[in-house]
């Protein structure tokens, strides 16, 4: 070890200060950070970008076709029927809205808890949030059936002067999701302003400069501006934190306030929130690992970042596993016949038993691999587990919604749900829509928050040099990330 305690026997041993791994590797300069991130926007995109972009546009077209076909033909083209009226639409809605949560978690909760590693991944995950919420929002809009009547959801009296039912969880959902989307956009945009100014200052005069200039709002990076900016960022983070927890709680109220066995439990809000963060982080990893490799961002998104996210997946996955077990326990302990049957049908003899085990394996068993350091260090395994989690979280919503509704109170109304080709293709199409938006984001906006990453490199600490002069580094090696000193033991 480079600087192990070498205190003499007379002097009391100085406490060893735990070193942090540097957030930006190889002591990169500010200019390097700017060039690398802005370069993604300014240079030609790699061929792979086009190989992904063209199919995703095609899939978006299929999604649009699916919705047009639905409107022109009727809601019957989707597979839902009584008693499975919520079917894939709400499954996909909850799935997509859950994906979005990691973005807000990274940008808000990790900001409030001073987790500086968030800076390298927050921009992309916030963008992911927005696109996922856009995909999510489509489903309830079309689920209402007559989509041209979707304005009935807005709090204005309709033709009969009937107001919305403010006591309904479904209306709470409308407010929660639309607030979530709006606040996420504001948060994302505020974070973008300094970086848009960077792009503006690097462009030659022309339409690009004008556009970046307009959106940068005339930003000059003055400290009197940063003062308000940082306060606004802090406030938005503080506002988004309860918001992100409330959105998925409200989504869970759609279920939990009903009387349907299997839905009617108080564990739903925390269970849904943990699941959303779980699924969201898996999607962040699924997107960021390829982005890191393709654009050479290894110094900015380090192994430490991936390791941290893998640990969060392990934590939230285990919380989700606890919730699954607690649901089973409640079904047994409540002695409610219907509740018990709902879970027996899910786990033992229902028509879709295999989905429960697919869910359990993907969400609870697979992430346990992250207890091992080698699994967290291996990009391949991280990616594989993330894919399992992505699939598992979809199965979770399917299990909750479809398998529960298939077997209702009355055996006479039991029917099995089958997805139609329109269901399938529309869902696949939303992935294309999501990917297309994300690729366009990579093409036109800085994928990493430039200003924030610059703020976490060691030379950004105004007292960085002072300590070196005073020789404090001898006592606290590497704490201030002095480039002359080894950072890692």
């Amino acid at each position: 070890m480079a600087h192990s305690a070498t205190a003499s026997s007379e002097a009391p041993a100085k406490p060893r200060i735990l070193e942090r791994e540097p957030l930006v590797l190889n002591n990169r300069s500010y200019a390097w950070i700017t060039n690398r991130i802005c370069g993604i926007v300014e240079n030609r995109q790699p061929a792979l970008w086009w190989w992904l972009f063209v199919p995703s546009v095609f899939l978006t077209g299929i999604m649009v076709f699916g919705f047009v076909y639905l409107i022109s033909t009727g809601v019957g083209v989707w597979g839902q029927k009584q008693p499975v009226a919520w079917a894939w639409d709400i499954t996909n809605f909850v799935f997509w809205i859950g994906i979005g949560h990691a973005g807000t978690l990274i940008s808000a909760i990790l900001f409030l808890t001073r987790q500086k590693w968030r800076t390298a991944v927050n921009r992309a995950s916030e963008a992911m949030t927005l696109f996922a919420v856009m995909c999510a929002g489509l489903y309830p809009a079309f689920h209402v059936g007559r989509v041209w009547m979707v304005w009935f959801l807005a709090p204005v009296p309709n033709a009969n002067a009937v107001w919305q039912n403010f006591k309904s969880p479904l209306l709470w959902d409308v407010f929660a999701v639309s607030t979530y989307f709006t606040v996420s956009v504001l948060f994302w945009y505020l974070g973008l302003v300094p970086d848009l100014a960077t792009l503006r200052d690097r462009c030659k005069a022309g339409i690009k400069k004008t556009l970046y200039g307009i959106f940068a709002l005339g930003w000059r990076g003055g400290n009197r501006q940063w003062n308000h900016y940082e306060m606004a960022y802090l406030l938005l983070a503080a506002l988004s934190t309860p918001l992100v927890l409330s959105v998925h709680s409200v989504v869970s109220f759609d279920f939990a306030t009903s009387v349907v066995p299997g839905w009617h439990t108080t564990i739903f809000p925390p269970y849904f929130v943990a699941g959303a963060i779980f699924g969201g982080f898996a999607m962040v990893l699924t997107l960021m690992i390829p982005v890191r490799a393709i654009y050479g961002l290894h110094d900015l998104i380090t192994e430490k970042h991936i390791d941290n996210m893998a640990k969060i997946i392990l934590l939230t996955g285990t919380i989700v596993g606890y919730a699954y077990c607690m649901e089973l326990f409640m079904a047994y302990y409540s002695s409610s016949k219907y509740e018990g049957d709902a879970f027996l049908l899910r786990t033992l003899y229902g028509p879709s038993v295999w989905t429960y085990y697919a869910m359990f394996f993907c969400n609870v068993i697979a992430p346990q691999l992250f207890w091992f350091k080698w699994a967290r260090k291996s990009l391949l395994w991280v990616l594989v587990v993330s894919m399992f989690v992505n699939a598992g979280m979809w199965y979770e919503r399917y299990v909750i919604i479809v398998t529960t509704l298939e077997r209702h109170f009355m055996p006479g109304s039991w029917r099995t749900f089958d997805a139609t080709w329109v269901d399938n293709w529309t869902f696949i199409g939303t992935f294309g829509f999501f990917l297309m938006n994300f690729l366009l984001f990579l093409r036109f906006l800085p994928v990493i928050a430039i200003a924030e990453v610059k703020g976490v490199v060691p030379q950004s600490n105004p007292h960085h040099d002072d300590h070196v002069e005073r020789g404090v580094h001898e006592l606290q090696p590497g704490v201030f990330g002095n480039p002359e000193l080894p950072n890692k033991a």
């Binding site: 039912n165 960077t198 308000h228 007292h463």
Partner: protein, 185 residues
């Protein structure tokens, strides 16, 4: 008739090498008693507010009222429509003052929404944004601020501003590439 451009001095712009340099320079300018000056940097420098003598942003004060407006709006929207003008009774749920807890989710959401809008627009208002141009953008070197440049600009509006003395001060505290920035009238 030949066009005459009138120019007005905006201030002195000086470049500094690092966050640390600009921090210590700020302490000196603060102690010299300047008021209208600013540090331009690519990222917020920790502790610079104290070094510059800038007060904490008063944004939270306004956001509180924004949020309170949101809570009240949501409550009135729900209460007036559900209890006063059109009591909607669905699944036998009553419509009266005691149903207020059912309005809490929406009151919560609108509190956040209104607060967020107040935060963003309040922040822009405090920052004096958006604006399409600024005298500093005329400076060629200034665009480095968004990459790796650290600048201090002391404005001519400052009561302590003196063309020669201010320049001397900036030189003394380690400013490089000192430039007199002018604004076209």
């Amino acid at each position: 008739m030949a066009k005459t451009t009138l120019k007005r001095v905006h201030g002195y712009l000086a470049e500094f090498e690092s966050a640390s340099d600009v921090y210590h320079a700020s302490e000196k300018i603060r102690d010299a008693g300047f008021q209208r000056w600013d540090v331009h940097s690519p990222f917020p420098i920790h502790g610079l507010n104290e070094a510059m003598g800038v007060k904490r942003s008063s944004l939270p004060f306004f956001v509180f009222f924004g949020g309170a407006t949101g809570t009240l709006t949501a409550f009135l929207l729900a209460f007036i429509t559900q209890v006063e003008i059109y009591p909607t009774v669905v699944q036998a749920k009553p419509a009266n003052i005691f149903t207020t807890p059912a309005f809490f989710p929406i009151m919560f959401e609108l509190t956040i929404l209104f607060s967020a809008f107040t935060t963003l627009f309040g922040c822009f208002a405090f920052m004096g944004l958006p604006r399409l141009n600024h005298p500093l953008f005329a400076s060629k070197q200034f665009k480095k601020f968004s990459d790796d440049g650290f600048f201090i600009c002391i404005e001519a509006r400052d009561p302590k501003f003196h063309q020669a003395e201010t320049k001397a001060l900036l030189e003394e505290i380690g400013g490089k590439n000192i430039e007199l920035v002018e604004d076209e009238l």
